[in-house]
Amino acid sequence: MPYALCLLLFMIGLYCAVVKKNMVKIVIGIMVMEYAVNLFLIMLGYRMGGVAPVVDRSHLGPAAENLAAGFISSSVDPLPQALVLTAIVISLGSLALMISICIRIYQRYGTFDITEIRRLRG
């Protein structure tokens, strides 16, 4: 059920990116899609009653570098978290690029409306 709500968030973003006329609204739709995808990836790795994948002094086993079995059986999955960490920072870079293109188009054509830009031959 939480997966279906996450998919609904993605569909709202997709609807906004496809239907709207204003360029900044299209960028906002793409951002909503990115939030939904990151959320879905982290939800895939969740364990009920789990523990964050950070080792504390109480998790260490008898030898200095062996982990107690309690930590191994109750930690959440660290692999989706590593993938989402880079995805969040890349989304900021792509947002900067999209907004700079929107600013340049506004300076050239005087409007944010994409149907009017198609009609003008600059």
């Binding site: 964050a52 002094r57 870079g93 900067a96 600013i103 506004y106 300076q107 005087g110």
Partner: protein, 157 residues
């Protein structure tokens, strides 16, 4: 981009130092507590953005101009590549954690542990922080003062 009132400037100058120190802490302890190079780099960039919003763009551009930020960005990326190539030189595989496996293991849960991971965190933090500061400085340089309309070349046609 103009500055703000005196109250905002006073508080921002005190808070900016604390935010910068917090960003350095998040980068350095990235292998022991949650955080790491990416979050710490973004916090460093946002401390300079706070200065830019409260004091105006010219004040920040005197202290950290655009070419210097661009060079810091390149230095960070180059350091990260250097650490990777040093793994090839000392160990035999690209990106090998050569400090942990050969020279300086350290103790777990202490600051000096995990080999090249803190060094990589510092390089990534420097790169991400300089990049994001550069892009926000470019966005504010684009329109000086009055709102951007169509360029003068378009109006003459």
């Amino acid at each position: 981009m103009k500055g703000m009132t005196v109250i905002v400037k006073t508080i921002a100058s005190w808070v900016k130092v604390l935010i910068f120190l917090f960003g350095i802490y998040i980068i350095l302890f990235g292998h022991l507590t949650p955080g790491g190079g990416f979050a710490g780099g973004v916090i460093l960039a946002s401390s300079y953005v706070l200065l830019m919003l409260s004091f105006g763009r010219e004040f920040v551009e005197e202290n950290l101009p655009l070419p210097l930020a661009s060079k810091l960005d390149c230095v960070g990326a180059f350091l990260f590549g250097l650490i990777a190539v040093l793994g090839l030189v000392f160990g035999g595989t690209f990106f090998l954690n050569f400090l942990y496996q050969k020279y300086l293991p350290g103790q777990p849960l202490h600051l000096i542990s995990a080999g090249t991971i803190p060094l990589s965190n510092i390089a990534i933090g420097l790169k991400v922080g300089a990049s994001l500061f550069l892009v926000i400085l470019s966005l504010s340089v684009c329109c000086k003062g009055r709102p951007c309309g169509p360029s003068t070349r378009e109006r003459q046609e």
